[in-house]
Structure formats: structure tokens, C-alpha cells
Amino acid sequence: MPDPGLIMYEEEFKQIDAELRRLHQQANAKVTFLVDKNGQLISAIGETENLDTTSLASLTAGNIAATGGMAKLLGEKDFSILFHEGERDNIHISLVGRVILVVIFDQRSSLGLVRLRVKKSVEVLGQILQKILQKVDQAKGPAGAGGGTPKEAAKSPFAEITEDDIEKLFG
């Protein structure tokens, strides 16, 4: 089965934001962001005003997908860390399950510091993502089973979408 769609709830979103903020500060980074493996940007913290984060997210996912393909050809499961070094800015990319953690940094930081801080963040983010997956699973489970359906999922606004709503998107 393909991965189920990712659903992000308020509580976990705030936790992810807080962790990205902490990493941004502790690694002395310019930008930290989290991307779904399919290229969807989840959250970005830092100097993002002049950065096309949507494109960056899509290319990051493409990059991870391409190196993942290379890994498989070599009999590796994945390459979990990628590092791109530029003249001014550098990008550190690491896999956290089905999402990707990206840190952009310049001479104010160093690869060693980034790697050290990322290691801790990968753990924290991994736990938050685990929680999200559990919530989604619960929400999709048989009605009434365990009675633990999260509130947000129970009242999905999308059940009410009409053809009219879709027509309006195209003006």
C-alpha cells in the first residue's frame, strides 16, 4: 500500500514549529525546515522572506528521492544524510522517517555543530511524527473502536464539499 496522506493537527504542528525554532537557534542556522517526502512543505523557520520555500521543498524531496534510488542500486536502504556545500551557504538534509529535515547555514555555524544539533532534533521530530501517525490511524480505524477518535478528525470539514465549491476554485 502507498503511504496514507499526511494530516497535521494543531498540537503537533506547534511542537514541530517549536523544535525547528530550537534547532534554528542552537545550530546558529539561517533556516530550518521540514518537508514531506512527497515535496510538501510542513514548516519553515528563520530567514525565509527571500527564499522560495515551496520550490526548495519540492527540490529537496526530488533530491532525497534521487539519492534514495542510488542507495537502492548499491544495496543500501537509504542515504539518511546529505550535505551540499556552497561558497556562502550550505544545506544539510536528513531523513526523519517519512519527512525530511533541512538546515541551511553559513559561516556563522559549522557542519559539526549542525550535525550535533540535528541528531537531537531528529529524535524529537521522530517522536512527534509517530504521534501524528497514531492519531491518523485512530481516526481511520473502525468507528467506535476504543472510542479514541481525535476531535479534529471526527469533524472533518471535507465531508461537506460540493461540486459548487470546486467550481468556484476556477472562478
Binding site: F13, Q40, S58, S156
Partner: protein
């Protein structure tokens, strides 16, 4: 698969344009990019060779509007059509919410169309998807060319299940937004079904 963010109140969906090489997938995206209001689109990214053949993918993010208070964003991707880029095509299909198959209507490209359709089905299967269960639209492009075969013939060869299809002349925009609208509709209805 779609990404629903309750916190940012956004729905993100991925639509992939598939089809044989030089069939007009990139031209579809270029036309959509050209004709979309600047507020609704992001930058279009093309990872292409020097001769402008798609090497990895084209990418165009579109934010069309709101549904039920959620901003709906579509991420449009094309795959490289040339046969030997199969490994890249597989990667781009990951997490797909809907597929547009851009067929080349010219008689001499019929075999390439069929091969690409088989390839799509197979590559989706490898990722755990079944094409018939996915939002899917077929576009018959290059209708203006003299060697274009009839739509009936194309449907017979490429669309036995009778999914929605559109005739197109991509550089002039004919059929482009009709195709996009149909696939967007199917994708959103799929989200509704899953909710």
C-alpha cells in the same frame, strides 16, 4: 498523497502529468503558468537538459482558492517522457494524488503512447497504487497536426475504461484548463471520500 494541515488550514495535492516523450507535458505546465494570476502561482521549476528535454521533472505550485476555509494548493509535476529515464519517473509518482496522461495524437506516436501507458500502470503498481482507483484524466494533445488519429481510435487504444478525456493543442492552450479542472475536481472529491 494529499497533505492536510489543520493548523495552517491548507490542503496540498500532487498531480503528475505522464506520457511519452515530446508529447506536450511541459507545454501544459508552461501554458498554465503563463495564464495563471501571479498571486496564485509559485515559480515554475524545470530540471531539463540543455536541449530543453525534461531531465528529472517540471514543478509548478498553484494555489487556486479556498474550500471550506482551507487553502487548496496543487503541486503539478511532469515526468521525463524519454524511455530511459524510467528510474526518475518512478520517483516522481511517489505520493501522487491524481494523474493526467498526455498522449500524442500523431499516428506515428501511437506505439509510444501505448508503451508509456503500460509503463505508468506498472510504475504505479510498484508503488502500491492501482491506476483504475486513482483520479485519472487522459488528454489527447496535438489535435491540430495532420497525422492526428481519430479520438475513437485513441480511446480504444489508451482509454478502455472510459475515464474523462480532452482534446488539446497545448501551445495554444486548447483543452489545457479543461484537463486541469477535471483532475482537480476528481482529486478533491477523493479527499472528500477519504474524510
Amino acid at each position: 498523497m494529499s497533505f492536510i494541515n489543520y493548523s495552517a488550514r491548507e490542503i496540498n495535492c500532487k498531480i503528475v502529468f505522464y506520457g511519452p516523450g515530446l508529447g506536450g507535458k511541459t507545454t501544459n505546465l508552461q501554458y498554465i503558468y503563463k495564464k495563471t494570476n501571479p498571486d496564485s502561482k509559485g515559480k515554475m521549476i524545470s530540471l531539463a537538459t540543455e536541449s530543453e528535454r525534461t531531465l528529472f521533472f517540471d514543478f509548478l505550485p498553484l494555489a487556486l482558492g479556498n474550500i471550506k476555509g482551507f487553502k487548496v494548493r496543487f503541486h503539478l509535476y511532469t515526468v521525463p517522457g524519454q524511455v530511459f529515464y524510467d528510474a526518475s519517473r518512478k520517483l516522481i509518482l511517489k505520493g501522487v494524488d491524481g494523474v493526467v496522461f498526455v498522449a500524442d495524437s500523431q499516428a506515428e506516436r501511437m506505439e509510444a503512447n501505448i508503451e508509456s501507458m503500460d509503463n505508468l500502470r506498472r510504475n504505479l503498481q510498484e508503488q502500491g497504487y492501482i491506476l483504475d482507483n486513482l483520479p485519472f484524466v487522459v488528454q489527447y494533445n496535438k489535435r491540430d497536426l495532420p497525422s492526428a488519429v481519430s479520438v475513437d481510435e485513441l480511446n480504444q487504444a489508451l482509454n478502455p475504461k472510459g475515464v474523462p478525456f480532452f482534446e488539446a493543442v497545448a501551445p495554444q492552450g486548447q483543452g489545457i484548463f479543461e484537463t486541469l479542472k477535471e483532475i482537480a475536481k476528481q482529486v478533491i472529491l477523493e479527499i472528500k471520500k477519504g474524510s
